[in-house]
């Protein structure tokens, strides 16, 4: 007869034996998450809150109009609070800066475009480059900025063209029209620069919720805790069906086996999590509850899926997919309404709600934990009976 307590102690000893290897993996994961924290805190979704975009402008330095335009943008326009303008002499230089990550995007201003703008005909488009790879958030942000600039310029052009047309219809000579159009242009530039006067910003405060910084601190801590469950994969390797059948024959059923293995696994994850989050990152989150949920999830995946590579693959896809949809990398508003709801009710979303709101989501966390452990038990029953 094997008792639950004996089995639990045996598993605890086994996991302690594996501890040095696991600690090495935890250190690597901690470093990687530290990297991602740095990336997110300087990423575009976060920059959106705290940092400026660096926008490169490529065009001839001898062009006075362009130099004046860049100076206006840098010193007088409202966009200076959002954009840092960096001037480049040629596209190669800007390409190198974009590849090195020194700028978010660059705009290539050609002579043809300047001529087309002077002639008030929009037949030449201006190209901007935001990425070497597939489109990302930066590209989308740049699309928005391009739309803003287009709206301002095109509406002003329409006004100038309409005025020119109206004056021509009224029989004004060309030498009388041009000065009036130039004067109107100056008025348009003035209104464009003063456009911020239309708006006043009212700040409600974040007393009833999280600030952006707190949001990312929680999401990244949770992401780290999720990855921690990955680090003890060696605990799930080289396990034999015959061993389970032997234990069952000796009176330790599937429930006892699963709990006897789950508890040391959970304690290990909690120990590593507390050390890294509590003492290294120094965040005072209560991670015990979220860790129980993630440990149960990891345990269920590693129990259900067979084969080392498939265990890793299944856990990788589920962890990354769930973290993504639950808004660990981007704000939740990035997703459609349906995905936001799904993300909130996924284990990763429930853990986030618990960290954010506390007791309200405790039942959901515990409910998920029980479900995952039951799934693991069902598969253990299946293995024993096979």
């Amino acid at each position: 007869m094997i008792k639950f307590g004996d089995y639990f102690l045996a598993q605890l000893k086994r996991i302690v034996k594996l501890l040095p290897g696991i600690v090495v993996m935890v250190v690597i994961v901690a470093l990687a998450v530290a990297g991602i924290s740095k990336a997110i805190l300087s990423s575009d979704s976060y920059k959106e809150q705290h940092m400026k975009y660096k926008l490169g402008i490529v065009g001839s330095t001898e062009d006075d109009m362009l130099t004046m335009g860049v100076d206006l943008l840098k010193n007088n326009d409202e966009s200076r609070f959002m954009l840092d303008i960096v001037r480049f002499d040629d596209a190669e230089e800007a390409n190198a800066a974009l590849r090195a990550g020194d700028i978010s995007a660059y705009v290539l201003i050609t002579d043809e475009f300047v001529d087309s703008l002077n002639a008030l005909s929009n037949d030449v488009n201006l190209e901007y480059f935001a990425t070497s790879g597939q489109r990302g958030i930066t590209s989308v942000m740049m699309d928005e900025l391009a739309d803003i600039a287009s709206n301002l310029v095109v509406s002003s052009e329409k006004g100038l063209l309409a005025l020119e047309q109206e004056m021509k219809n009224a029989g004004y000579p060309a030498e009388a029209i041009n000065p009036q159009v130039d004067r109107a242009l100056l008025l348009y530039v003035g209104v464009m620069l003063a456009r911020g006067d239309m708006v006043e910003v009212q700040e409600l405060g974040v007393s009833d919720g999280l600030s952006t910084e707190e949001y990312y601190k929680i999401s990244l801590s949770l992401f780290f805790m999720l990855l921690l469950t990955f680090c003890s994969i060696s605990f799930f390797l080289r396990r034999r069906k015959a061993g389970y059948q032997f234990l069952a024959a000796k009176g330790l059923g599937p429930a006892g086996q699963v709990l006897g293995e789950f508890l040391p696994y959970y304690l290990l994850n909690l120990f590593c999590g507390e050390i890294v989050i509590g003492y290294v990152i120094k965040d005072r989150f209560n991670i015990a509850v979220a860790t129980v949920l993630f440990s149960a999830l990891g345990f269920a995946i590693f129990e259900v899926v067979s084969g080392v590579i498939n265990k890793i693959l299944a856990a990788f896809i589920l962890y990354m997919g769930m973290s993504y949809i639950s808004g660990y990398f981007y704000p939740r508003s990035f997703f459609t309404d349906v995905l936001q709801v799904i993300g909130r009710y996924l284990p990763t979303g429930v853990a986030f709600s618990y960290m954010e709101q506390g007791e309200g989501s405790l039942m959901m966390v515990l409910g998920y934990t029980v479900v995952f452990l039951l799934i693991a038990m069902l598969f253990r029953v299946h293995r024993i009976r096979q």
Binding site: S42, H50, Q134, D147, I148, V206, T212
Partner: protein, 370 residues
Amino acid sequence: MRYLLLLKRLLRKKSYIVMLLLVPILFFVLKGVAQENGHIMAVGVYVAGEDDSSKMLRESLGESESSIQYVSYESEDELRKAVANKTIDEGWITPFDLDGLVEGMAVSSIPSEKIKVVVRENGLSHLLGKEILCSKVYPAVAKQLYLNYAAALGLNADDKNFDSFGLSNSLFEMGYLDQEEVSDTSLILMPLRGILAVWLLLCGIAASMYYIEDRNNKIFIWWKTRFTFLRDLGYYGVVFLMPTIITIAGLIYSGSFTTVLREIPALLLYEVAVILLAMLLRMVLGSIKNLGILTPDLIIVVTILSPVFIDLKEARQVQRFCPTFHYLSSIHDTYYLKTLFIYTVLLGCLVVLFLKLPVKVRQVFKAHLL
């Protein structure tokens, strides 16, 4: 013939089939829920008035096809609550007399009643929102300025003349460094290419595990050759056959596929790099257990160093050690196709060097490394 037999054997492996099926399942699930495009920001709008400018703003927001989601609210209180409880990122409240504001702006006076932008916390997002809002109201101001100016000259101007100029509204267009046309991938599906690339890396590790299993089962006694490197390359190539087909199908299905001339060379080069990396890891680590223990860390590090979800621009020099970074960046920039090629050649040299090292030296190396 031997490679065909290997393929048949692989297709009978349960673990191989599960590995092949997991990613398409992810594709279908994500594609299913990503019918609607994602949004970078949700903005609540309460347009209080019924004047011309208010109508124009309403119309402009209704027609908007941007990555900002506009949600209409019936009252100011409702909108403020939505901002406070984070249903929306920010709210815009226009005054009853938006025409008055527009007229004031057109004569360069500071309006007494402004449009309110309600935010939870101050940050750059409200600046972007503010800029978008200004650009939506600006056409009405531009029209009013024209009408005022024309009236001052004694001209009988009207709205229709202003609206009759059908100028293109998009002055700017996004380009890629390789001059290819931009394909509009859904925001939500953007990380799929990265996930596929990491999955291919996992396939490489799996191939190494199958290889070790076959070597332990003495399969290679029946497959002796002088060119071990080429035989091994062929072995891994067979394992990669199905994942390659799935990757290409996945890219086409998700709308991320660009052109055959760009995708196929980049994918094949990346696969060779991944195969060489997997071979190197197999030779260094030697056992399935060691590979299994290392793999989670490897894929976590690769996912973070490559622009799958986030581009870690600050660590560009470290990113260059990761084949996935070169592959993902090479899709629209031939520069990275060249760096991927150089990376693959260097890795190939390392593998050949390692193969040529006498067994004893390798054992000493392993003993010191592990």
